[in-house]
Symmetry: C2
Amino acid sequence: MPGGRPRSFDREIALQRAMELFWARGYEGAQLTDLTAAIGINPPSFYAAFGSKEAAFREALELYERKMGSRWGQALAGDLDTRQSIRALLDYTVELALGAPGSGGCMMALGMINAMPGHEALRDLLRDRRREGVRQVRNRLEKGVRDGDLPPSTDLSRLAVFFCGILQAISLQARDGATRKELDDIVVTAMMALPEPHIQPRSAKATPARRRKPGADAG
Amino acid sequence: MPGGRPRSFDREIALQRAMELFWARGYEGAQLTDLTAAIGINPPSFYAAFGSKEAAFREALELYERKMGSRWGQALAGDLDTRQSIRALLDYTVELALGAPGSGGCMMALGMINAMPGHEALRDLLRDRRREGVRQVRNRLEKGVRDGDLPPSTDLSRLAVFFCGILQAISLQARDGATRKELDDIVVTAMMALPEPHIQPRSAKATPARRRKPGADAG
DNA sequence: CCCTTTGTGTAGCACGCGCTACATATTGCT
DNA sequence: AGCAATATGTAGCGCGTGCTACACAAAGGG
């Protein structure tokens, strides 16, 4: 079987460019003209390489999950305690949202909100991924109970939905032009929802009624 | 000046229908065919009445603010104390998101996330309205400090951005198919970020270290 | 009644979208 | 060299979009 003419561009780099565009403008906002222009190829090459715009988006999403979701997974799967783990999750999302191409935010959260007729499958795909995210956070919180980081009475589903809502809020606020300080403020405030194991090493100095000064555990 | 042929449909009802469609599917998702079909008129009548799709969206947004935003304003401007006020704000958003036409959520939050080229003005309009919402919440919190509901050291900007982020999270989660319980859980959890004035009437019975059992102030 | 004014319905325009037919170019195999 | 196989560039198709030209219908004023 002969080999045929070789591709004139790097498929991985092309996919990277496509991902950035989808990330920056969403599925419908990233038009084929923009995609091919960003890659530097013509439509037939795009279709020969990826099949269709929808297929390219699916592949771009997988790349996104591999590259961005890995740190996301590290935050949850690492050897941090539960509070540090959730905190790392939120912190990384802030970093991601601020460093995002275009207007900012997370591709998983903002890639497609309102689907035009015919694109419902992609919207549902993103939704299912987000739900999977809730499940992963919940699993991490369950581990927190097993490790003694959280009281056994903790409502894990409630916290999991809450923190994933915070992730989405961070992305939306980033799109709205929020500053790093504002996003950090959201993180710090959200962390107040997480109950503490028993007693803090050095805290509760003057105000034992409130848990902590917000921002005391920043950095 | 003669009167001309009278309009064959009720403009207010037509605008209402348009608003529901924009709300359910977003600006780009609500196509002119759907709009005219929902109203029961033909394109020329639509353009004679509203001018353009963009103008219709702006007017629909104003209607949305008048009808939905009024209760929103009531929650902030009523004679409730600060905690009750914020709580009412979140509760109403949950109710709104669940009762929304189509997939659920708030029109202000989800009406347009990713703008196609040419529609940036509408996206910015929505963003500015959301920012205005942050300002209003902040004003309410300032009043809370003046009323003694919040300690003077409270970081008001932080809380305002946080709670408005929660509003957006509620809308997004509703679009993702969240149940009423899940949305209520987000509300209850978010309320933990609000510091209490001094001492609760009847709380802190057994666990003075933690603030309260989540959900104790529900209903 | 005629005129002006305004709304309606039919039909379709201009444009941008995702996508592709076709001829040509570049490779490996024999 | 000749052939099969694959990629590329040019050009443009089919469709759906927001929007509108045009002729006709329905009102009031003289």
